[in-house]
């Protein structure tokens, strides 16, 4: 499709905007490190609407850009690990039939957290951070479920657009 580059730009912009909107939401879940992950909404949609290669590229581009704009070197590292692991697992589950978009998004949310925690353990050079695993698993499931439901509704409205 000839509009591919334009669509990719729009998706990137959307992901960035969602990253920004997320920083504006003052909701704290009372647990450090837990956030909604609105930008992942775009990644989930890209997973269903784009080629997998482009979804990966989108994930990397959005992490690099939002990291440079809103974060720092370490936040890029964390997000990259989380984002890539999350996308890989989601793509894997999507290929195997039998999962709804909610299930796939939940797996993605959980893996996002696990990827970040793995980098954290590596950076801090202690496995002690893994006491945090239960919290992040539950939190990842909750945010993943929310993102999955949102993505499902959005895909229903984007049904006429194919990239």
């Amino acid at each position: 499709m000839k509009n591919r580059v334009a669509y990719f730009g729009v998706f990137t912009a959307l992901a960035l905007i969602f990253s920004y909107v997320e920083t504006l939401i003052p909701i704290s879940f009372g647990i450090p490190g837990v956030k909604l992950g609105l930008a992942n909404l775009i990644i989930v949609i890209a997973l269903y609407k784009m080629k997998l290669k482009e979804a990966y590229l989108l994930s990397v581009v959005r992490v690099l850009l939002s990291g440079l704009i809103f974060g720092n070197y370490f936040s890029i590292l964390y997000s990259l690990a989380g984002g890539l692991l999350s996308l890989t697992v989601m793509a894997f589950l999507k290929k195997r039939d039998g999962y709804s978009i909610m299930g796939i998004s939940i797996a993605g949310g959980v893996c996002h957290n696990i990827g970040q925690l793995a980098v954290a353990a590596f950076v801090v050079e202690t496995f002690h951070v893994f006491y945090y695993v239960p919290v992040l698993l539950i939190a990842g499931s909750a945010t993943g479920l929310l993102i999955g439901i949102l993505a499902g509704h959005m895909l229903n409205r984007l049904v006429n657009i194919q990239f």
């Binding site: 450090p32 956030k35 709804s100 909610m102 299930g103 202690t126 006491y131 695993v133 698993l137 499902g152």
Partner: protein, 123 residues
């Protein structure tokens, strides 16, 4: 896009929660065994540091307070102050927990041998 739950979704969620609870219990069981130490300060001056690993009785401040370490926990057993707040406080064992006796200016603080619970926070 059908927004219906499928069997494998439920299975996935059950597995995630099972792993979460398992990890929680594993941490509860292993995490508390790592013996730390307590630092005793009187009037801001460090009087001594004692391991939580061995059971012992410590006389603090020339005998105004008595601290007992047993089963990896430190508990103030006696104090000559009138309010006995520190005596009534629960035993401490985890990093950062403390027992404070204000009248005698005694502070007992746990320093776990492992790193603090929050090494890094990202947002």
């Amino acid at each position: 896009m059908k927004m219906e739950w499928k069997k494998k979704d439920i299975l996935l969620i059950i597995v995630i929660f099972a792993v979460a609870f398992l990890a929680y219990y594993l941490h509860e069981m292993i995490g508390t065994k790592g013996a730390g130490s307590v630092t005793v300060k009187v009037n801001g001056v460090i009087e001594g540091s004692y391991s939580l690993g061995e059971d012992q009785e410590i006389e603090i401040n020339g005998g105004t307070n008595r601290l007992i370490i047993k089963n990896g926990k430190a508990d103030m057993e006696a104090a000559d102050c009138p309010d006995k707040l520190c005596v009534n406080q629960k035993a401490v064992s985890k990093n950062g927990e403390s027992i404070i006796c204000l009248p005698n200016k005694v502070i007992v603080e746990v320093e776990s041998s492992e790193n603090g619970e929050f090494d890094a926070v990202t947002n």
